[in-house]
C-alpha cells in the first residue's frame, strides 16, 4: 500500500480541525458520541455511567477566581493569609451548625374500651384527657468528617381520668430527656462509624416493619408521637452507589421499655439499589434468644406503581401461647411453646402503591404473621383473659395472679395477635399547598376487628400547622383492635422555627 506523503496528511488534518472548530458546539456532540475518546488538552475527557453521558467539566465559578487571588496574596502576606484562614475556619464551623426547634401543643381524647384486657380501666389506667406541651429541638453539627446530633426533649403533661380507680383524678408531669443523640465519623471515603441513641427505621411497609429486629413498630400510625431511641453502634460502608453494608449493634435499651428485659441484638445489613429496584438483607441475632433473617425489596413497575415486600424468618418463636393446664390458677397458662421448635416462623408483608397523576397515592398491604394465634389459640387466649379479668377484683393472691396474667396477655411477644391483616392507605400531600391527608384502614381478617387512622395536617403560614390524628377502632368488644381503646383523637398545633 502506498502511503500518502506526510505533508498531505498534515494538511488534511489541519483542514478538518479548522472546519470542526468553526462548528464549535458540534465538536462537543461528536466527542460525546464516541466512547472513550478524550478531546485535546485532557480536560475534556468523557466517561460513561449507565445510560447517562457524563462530561467532565471545568468550573466557571467566580469563587475559584477568588481562591486563586487569595493564593497570590498568601505568598505576599503570610499574616493576612493566616487571619483569612482562621476566619474561613470559623465560618466553616458556624455553617456546620443547624437546628430545628419544634413545639407541639396537643390534646388527646381517649375512650378506654371496656374489655377483659383492661377491666374497668383499672389495669392500664388510660386517661380520658391529656394535654401535652412538647419542646423538641434538633441540633446538629457537621464539620468535615464529623457529625454530631442531639435531640433533647421536654414534655409537659396534664392528665385527667374519668374511668377506673383514678376516676376524677388529675395529674401533671414534666419529663426532661434526650431522645436521640449521635456522634459520627467519616473514617475513610465511604466508611462511616456512628455511636448514639437512635431510632433506626427502614423498609417499605406502612403497617409494620417485619425486617427490623430492633424496632417492631414505626410511628406512621401517629407521626406526632416520637418513638423512643435505643443505643446503637454502627459501621456503614458505602461501597458504591449500588451496594452498602452495615454492622449494627443495639447495645442498650435507651428510652425503650422492655416488659421482659432488654437483650442486646446484633445485625448485619446489606443494601442494594439498582435501576428501579432496591433490596436489603438483614441477618440478626439477639442474645439469649435466636437469630433472624430479614429482607425487603421494592420494584418500581412504572413511575406510578410500586410493588414491595418485606419479611423475616426465624427458627421457632419466643411468643407466649395459651395452653390448657389444670394446675394453672386459671386452667390456662401462657407458655413459649415454640421456643425450642425448629419450625420456621415468619412475618411477611406484600404490598403495592399507585400514585395518580394528581399526586394521590393508594397503597394496599397484606401482612402475614405465622406465629399469630389460630382460632383455637385465640379462643383459649380470650378465655384466659376473661378469667384473669374476673379475678382482678378478688383478694390476694388472685389479684396479683390476675395482673401477672394480664401483663402476659398484653405483651405475648407477638407483634400482632392473629395471622392475617390487610391495610389500605390513601395519602395526598400539599393539597392546595396547605393540606396533607392520610387515611389508613387496617383490617384483622381473623377476628374482623379493624382500625381507621385519619391524619389531617393543615398549614397556617410558614411556622404553624394544626393537626388531627385519629384512631378509631371497630369490632367486637374483646377483639384485638378493641382490646385497649374504642377511639383516640389527638388535636394540636405544631410550631416550628
Amino acid at each position: 500500500m502506498v502511503k500518502p506523503p506526510l505533508c498531505v496528511l498534515r494538511f488534511a488534518l489541519l483542514s478538518v480541525f479548522s472546519l470542526l472548530f468553526s462548528y464549535g458546539g458540534f465538536i462537543m456532540i461528536c466527542s460525546a458520541e464516541n466512547n472513550g475518546v478524550s478531546s485535546k488538552g485532557g480536560s475534556a475527557s468523557k466517561k460513561e455511567s449507565g445510560n447517562i453521558r457524563i462530561l467532565e467539566i471545568a468550573v466557571l465559578d467566580t469563587r475559584e477566581e477568588v481562591k486563586g487571588s487569595d493564593e497570590n496574596t498568601r505568598e505576599e502576606e503570610p499574616n493576612a493569609s493566616s487571619l483569612k484562614t482562621q476566619s474561613d475556619l470559623w465560618k466553616e464551623i458556624g455553617e456546620g451548625f443547624s437546628y430545628t426547634f419544634r413545639t407541639l401543643g396537643y390534646g388527646t381524647f381517649n375512650s378506654p374500651s371496656d374489655s377483659t384486657q383492661n377491666p374497668n380501666n383499672d389495669f392500664l389506667n388510660i386517661p380520658r384527657y391529656t394535654l401535652n406541651l412538647d419542646f423538641r429541638p434538633d441540633i446538629s453539627f457537621n464539620f468535615r468528617p464529623l457529625t454530631l446530633v442531639v435531640k433533647p426533649r421536654l414534655d409537659l403533661t396534664w392528665k385527667r381520668w374519668e374511668k377506673g380507680a383514678k376516676e376524677g383524678d388529675t395529674d401533671t408531669d414534666n419529663d426532661w430527656y434526650v431522645n436521640e443523640w449521635l456522634a459520627g465519623l467519616n473514617l475513610y471515603s465511604g466508611l462511616f462509624v456512628y455511636y448514639g441513641r437512635e431510632n433506626l427505621q427502614w423498609g417499605p411497609s406502612h403497617f409494620v416493619s417485619p425486617s427490623n429486629p430492633f424496632f417492631p413498630y414505626n410511628n406512621q400510625a401517629n407521626p406526632k408521637i416520637e418513638l423512643p431511641g435505643m443505643d446503637f453502634a454502627r459501621v456503614v460502608w458505602v461501597a458504591n452507589s449500588s451496594w452498602t453494608a452495615s454492622l449494627i449493634a443495639n447495645l442498650g435499651a435507651g428510652r425503650m421499655m422492655f416488659p421482659y428485659g432488654f437483650e442486646r441484638t446484633y445485625a448485619a445489613k446489606l443494601d442494594y439499589t439498582g435501576n428501579q429496584k432496591y433490596g436489603s438483607l438483614i441477618g440478626s441475632y439477639q442474645e439469649n434468644n435466636r437469630g433472624q433473617l430479614g429482607a425487603y425489596g421494592g420494584w418500581w413497575v412504572s413511575d406510578a406503581l410500586l410493588l414491595y415486600t418485606e419479611g423475616s424468618i426465624s427458627k421457632g418463636s419466643n411468643a407466649l401461647y395459651p395452653q390448657k393446664d389444670p394446675n394453672a390458677p386459671f386452667g390456662i397458662q401462657m407458655i413459649p411453646t415454640k421456643d425450642d421448635s425448629s419450625t420456621p416462623e415468619g412475618l411477611l408483608t406484600v404490598g403495592g402503591s399507585y400514585t395518580l397523576e394528581g399526586g394521590a397515592t393508594f397503597s394496599l398491604e397484606y401482612f402475614f404473621n405465622s406465629a399469630g394465634y389460630n382460632d383455637n389459640e385465640a379462643a383459649l387466649y380470650d378465655d384466659l383473659r376473661e378469667d384473669a379479668a374476673s379475678a382482678f377484683y378478688a383478694p390476694e393472691p388472685w389479684h396479683r395472679l390476675s395482673k401477672a396474667t394480664l401483663i402476659q396477655t398484653l405483651e405475648p411477644r407477638l407483634r400482632f395477635l392473629r395471622r392475617n391483616y390487610l391495610t389500605l392507605q390513601y395519602v395526598q400531600v400539599e393539597i392546595h399547598d396547605v393540606l396533607n391527608l392520610t387515611l389508613r384502614y387496617t383490617y384483622n381478617v381473623d377476628d374482623s376487628s379493624s382500625m381507621l387512622v385519619p391524619i389531617v395536617e393543615y398549614d397556617i403560614g410558614d411556622y404553624f400547622q394544626v393537626f388531627v390524628v385519629g384512631d378509631q377502632r371497630f369490632g367486637s368488644k374483646d377483639s384485638e383492635f378493641r382490646s385497649l381503646i374504642d377511639y383516640s383523637y389527638m388535636v394540636g398545633v405544631e410550631f416550628t422555627f
Partner: protein, 251 residues
C-alpha cells in the same frame, strides 16, 4: 471556499469511509443530549433551589439545597420552617421521602406533589435523550428564537410524563419551552425555561438552567416558579445518596 472544498475532499480521501457526522444536521437525540446537559445532567452539581407557587391567589415558598449527579439527587428542604429537614432522595430511579417526624424513609412516586405544580420528579435533571423517543415537528419561533420542536414519547414506564412537546433553541441548543400531556392526551401543564447561568463543559461556555416557570393548564392562575442558584460543580460522593445515612441529615 476553494480551501474548504479541498480540505473536505482530502479528508474524505484520507479517512475513507469514516463517518462524517458533522456534515449532516444534528440528530434529534444529539440535540436532546445537549438540552439535557443544560438542565443539570452532569457529574456532580450543588445548588439551591427556590420554588414559588401561586395557587388560587395564595403564595407558597420552598427552599431546597440540592446535590445531584446525573439524574440522581439528594434534596433537603431548608425553608419554610414547617418543612425544614424533609428529604427527597432519588437513586437509580428509586425515590424516597424522609422527614424529621417520620423517621422512616418512605418510597414515593416522582408524581407526588412537592408544592404547586412542581412534582418530586421535577427536581431531577432530565434525561429526555434516553427516556423518550423524539419525533421532529416543524420548526417554530419562541420569543423570536428559532426552535426545533419535538414530540417526545416515553420509551420507559418509569418516567414522570408520558408525552412531552419540547421546543429546543436551534442556536443555544437548550430547551426553552415544554408542554406535558397525560396518558389520555390531555395537556396538564406547560413550562418555560431560562438559562441565565453558565458553566464550562469541555472548555466551552454553556448556558445553564436558572429558572423554570410551570403553568397549570387546568387552572390558569396557578403558576410555579423554580429559581436555581448559581451551580457549584464538583464530584458528589456515593455516600451523599445513601439511604442508611439519610436520617442523620433530616435536621
Amino acid at each position: 471556499m476553494f480551501n474548504a472544498i479541498l480540505a473536505l475532499l482530502t479528508a474524505f480521501l484520507v479517512f475513507g469511509t469514516a463517518p462524517c457526522a458533522f456534515s449532516q444536521d444534528l440528530t434529534p437525540k444529539a440535540i436532546l443530549v445537549r438540552a439535557d446537559e443544560a438542565r443539570g445532567n452532569l457529574e456532580g452539581i450543588k445548588w439551591e433551589l427556590q420554588i414559588i407557587s401561586v395557587e388560587s391567589g395564595r403564595k407558597q415558598d420552598r427552599e431546597l439545597e440540592v446535590k445531584s449527579r446525573g439524574t440522581e439527587f439528594f434534596a433537603i428542604l431548608k425553608a419554610p420552617p414547617k418543612v425544614r429537614g424533609q428529604i427527597l432522595l432519588n437513586v437509580d430511579r428509586n425515590m424516597w421521602f424522609a422527614s424529621p417526624s417520620i423517621r422512616k424513609p418512605v418510597p414515593v412516586s416522582p408524581r407526588q406533589r412537592l408544592v404547586g405544580g412542581a412534582s418530586y420528579g421535577d427536581i431531577a435533571s432530565t434525561n429526555y435523550a434516553e427516556d423518550y423517543d423524539a419525533a421532529p415537528l416543524d420548526d417554530e419561533l419562541v420569543n423570536g428564537e428559532r426552535c426545533y420542536v419535538f414530540e417526545l414519547k416515553a420509551n420507559k414506564k418509569d418516567v414522570t410524563y408520558d408525552r412531552i412537546k419540547y421546543w429546543v433553541s436551534k442556536e443555544r441548543l437548550v430547551g426553552v419551552q415544554a408542554e406535558y400531556f397525560t396518558v389520555s392526551g390531555k395537556k396538564f401543564k406547560s413550562a418555560i425555561f431560562e438559562y441565565e447561568h453558565e458553566i464550562i463543559v469541555n472548555e466551552h461556555r454553556r448556558p445553564f438552567v436558572s429558572k423554570i416557570i410551570i403553568q397549570d393548564s387546568l387552572l390558569e392562575g396557578n403558576i410555579t416558579t423554580m429559581v436555581f442558584s448559581e451551580p457549584i460543580l464538583g464530584k458528589v460522593p456515593d455516600s451523599d445518596f445513601d439511604l442508611n445515612l439519610l436520617l442523620m441529615r433530616t435536621i
